[in-house]
């Protein structure tokens, strides 16, 4: 472990921001109750005749802390904190899917080798050479409406997220497999399952944690991108990406409608990236600054 005061200060600020977002998401109903709003109620009184919010900064007031959404007058603060729920839940869910698949596939490929490893390695190559965003957009558009959208997004985004972590874990498992303590365990009669669980996986824990942390911001970004394009989480469930997509039409008349959800998305992604960088530097002495 290598401690760098400046890097650690950054990482600490990132971790604090992540914690704040988690709290905001967890206590979204409480926060909205304090404000006295919810993300679904229309408030046409807050708009002028052309649908633009009345007043400073997109209708910021004691009633509407972040102003209101143009055309509907829904409370933007409520949309942003409930949007945090959507982003973090989908981000965490998709990361979990990707990490579980990546660990299962990557470690077994490295451990068992042979034709299985070759098939896995080829599959990873194919998935890297795949227009995944385009595929996700197309799939999101024609999947039947009976499938719940957030689940579909989690499954699809997670299913395209595993190759990077699987490739890294495969490489590390290949190295670990030849270590003397693994040979010793095998010599003492441990079966493959036991060796994997007791000898290999504990040594991969740090890598898995770092990779999971660095995957989360990317997953949040993909959910937001899909919702931005109109094929992600369906309305009226609040989503930062969809609000930003809606803000395109209003960027000239009500820029604050872009700034609040956009700022939230940027801050959350940045915070996760900084924490991931800090973790990686702390664990990898070679690149530590």
């Amino acid at each position: 472990m290598n401690f760098d005061v400046r890097k650690d200060r950054w990482a600490a600020a990132g971790a604090l921001t992540v914690a704040l977002f988690l709290l905001a998401a967890a206590f979204a109903p409480v926060l909205c109750a304090i404000e006295g709003q919810d993300p679904y109620t229309y408030d046409l009184d807050a708009l002028d005749s052309s649908g633009v919010p009345v007043g400073f900064g997109g209708g910021i007031s004691a009633d509407h802390w972040f102003g209101v959404e143009p055309l509907t007058g829904r409370d933007l603060f409520a949309i942003v904190v409930y949007g945090a729920r959507t982003s973090l839940a989908v981000g965490a869910g998709a990361t979990a899917v990707a990490v579980v698949l990546g660990v299962l596939i990557g470690t077994t490929a490295g451990f068992f080798g042979g034709w299985y490893d070759r098939v896995v390695s080829r599959t990873i190559d194919v998935l890297f050479g795949f227009p995944s965003l385009i595929f996700m957009i197309a799939l999101g558009a024609i999947a039947p409406a009976s499938v719940p959208r957030p689940l579909l997004v989690v499954a699809v985004v997670g299913a395209f997220g595993w190759p990077s972590i699987a490739r890294v874990l495969r490489g590390q498992t290949l190295v670990l497999r030849t270590r003397t303590y693994v040979t010793a365990a095998v010599a003492m009669g441990a079966g493959p399952a036991r060796v994997m669980r007791r000898e290999i996986l504990p040594n991969l824990r740090a890598t898995i944690i770092v990779y999971a942390t660095t995957l989360i911001p990317g997953m949040i970004g993909v959910e937001a991108a899909l919702s931005f394009l109109g094929v992600g989480v369906a309305p009226p469930t609040p989503s930062w990406g969809r609000s930003i997509g809606d803000a395109i039409a209003w960027v000239g008349t009500d820029p604050m409608f872009l700034v609040f959800p956009g700022g939230a998305l940027f801050l959350a992604t940045l915070a996760f990236n900084v924490v991931g960088d800090g973790l990686r530097d702390a664990l990898d002495t070679r690149t530590a600054g």
């Binding site: 890297f128 227009p131 385009i134 595929f135 197309a138 024609i142 394009l229 094929v231 956009g262 998305l265």
Partner: protein, 330 residues
């Protein structure tokens, strides 16, 4: 001889990947319960009309048969329906949009120039900016420049493209009125207008991608500069410029080129988000329109076309490895 085998092997590998991707894509989209014939049948949709539409589109056979027809169309072209109502789709036939009444390949060809202009222009900018900033940061590690550039880079990595794009439009389009807020003019109509419309999208994409490349280049360069052969080069009395430029950069370029191939391939296959933000009528917009209309042949065609581009880009990267690092071919 080894070089020929290396190149041949890579090309065969690329073809195999392409075949697998196309089967997968085709199967997924045609197994979903979105019947293209049903969608185009109109109302009232009698069973007879539906059956006619299915036969006309060639979707009245199992999906693997449809896939084989599709493959055949790629090489020989194909004709849908018969008699005076028949439509012909010449080789390479990427499918036929019954909704737009045009071959998918024509639709793609019409839009590709836009996406190509956007992607290649941005790529030149981000390579220069990203690799340049990364090398400088590594060489002056810990300096004010390094800290500033890396702070900027982590912001660039975290910022979604549509957010940066919209803020750019807000600032340079609406507030400063320096560039148009969207749209596209073909190069052949007016090169100046073409440039004018693309400057902002280029800069936005270049900023976001340069951030990734600066981080990657810096990390690789730091690792390479710690190697023995760098110490040897310095010990020989080579100037620092040459040590970094020749001995360092050449080894840094391999991972950079790998990522570059993937990125450029992805972008050429449709910069969906950037095209949406800047109202550029490229491949990504074509896909989004097709998604809105549930125009299945176009969706499949564009997906496969972008897969082809990514695989070609990867193939080009593989072959470039041999040029950058001759050891690869042996």
């Amino acid at each position: 001889m080894t070089a020929v085998r290396f190149v041949g092997g890579r090309i065969v590998g690329a073809l195999v990947v392409l075949l697998i991707v196309s089967v997968g894509t085709y199967a997924v989209f045609y197994l979903l319960p979105a019947d293209p014939a049903q969608l185009s049948c109109g109302k009232p949709c009698t069973p007879q009309r539906l059956a006619d539409a299915r036969a006309f589109m060639g979707v009245d056979v199992p999906w693997w048969q449809q896939y084989l027809d599709f493959l055949g169309g790629l090489f020989a072209g194909r004709t849908f329906g018969s008699g005076p109502a028949a439509v012909h789709c010449g080789a390479p036939c990427f499918g036929y949009s019954f909704r737009l009444d045009a071959p998918v390949s024509t639709l793609i060809a019409d839009r590709f120039a836009v996406t190509f202009s956007l992607a290649t222009g941005a790529a030149v900018l981000w390579l220069l900016l990203g690799v340049g900033a990364g090398v400088l940061s590594a060489v002056r590690r810990g300096s004010a420049w390094d800290r500033g550039a890396m702070t900027f880079a982590v912001a660039g990595v975290s910022a979604p493209s549509y957010l940066v794009g919209l803020l750019g439009i807000l600032l340079f389009g609406f507030t400063l009125d320096m560039v148009p807020v969207g749209g596209y003019t073909p190069f052949v109509d007016s090169p100046l207008d073409w440039l004018w419309h693309l400057v902002l999208p280029w800069c936005v994409l270049a900023f976001l991608f340069a951030a990734v490349y600066a981080r990657l280049t810096r990390g690789q360069m730091l690792e390479v500069l710690g190697e023995d052969y760098i110490r040897t080069a310095r010990a020989k009395g080579l100037r620092e410029r040459r040590v970094v430029g020749r001995h360092g950069l050449r080894n840094v370029l391999i991972p950079v080129v790998t990522v570059f191939g993937l990125d450029l391939g992805q972008l050429l296959g449709g910069a969906v988000i950037t095209e949406r933000v800047f109202s550029l009528p490229g491949l990504g917009s074509l896909l989004l329109e097709a998604v809105g209309n549930v125009d299945l042949p176009v969706i499949v065609g564009v997906t496969l076309f972008s897969a082809v581009l990514i695989i070609l880009a990867n193939l080009a990267v593989d072959l470039l490895y041999g040029v950058i690092d001759p050891r690869v071919t042996h």
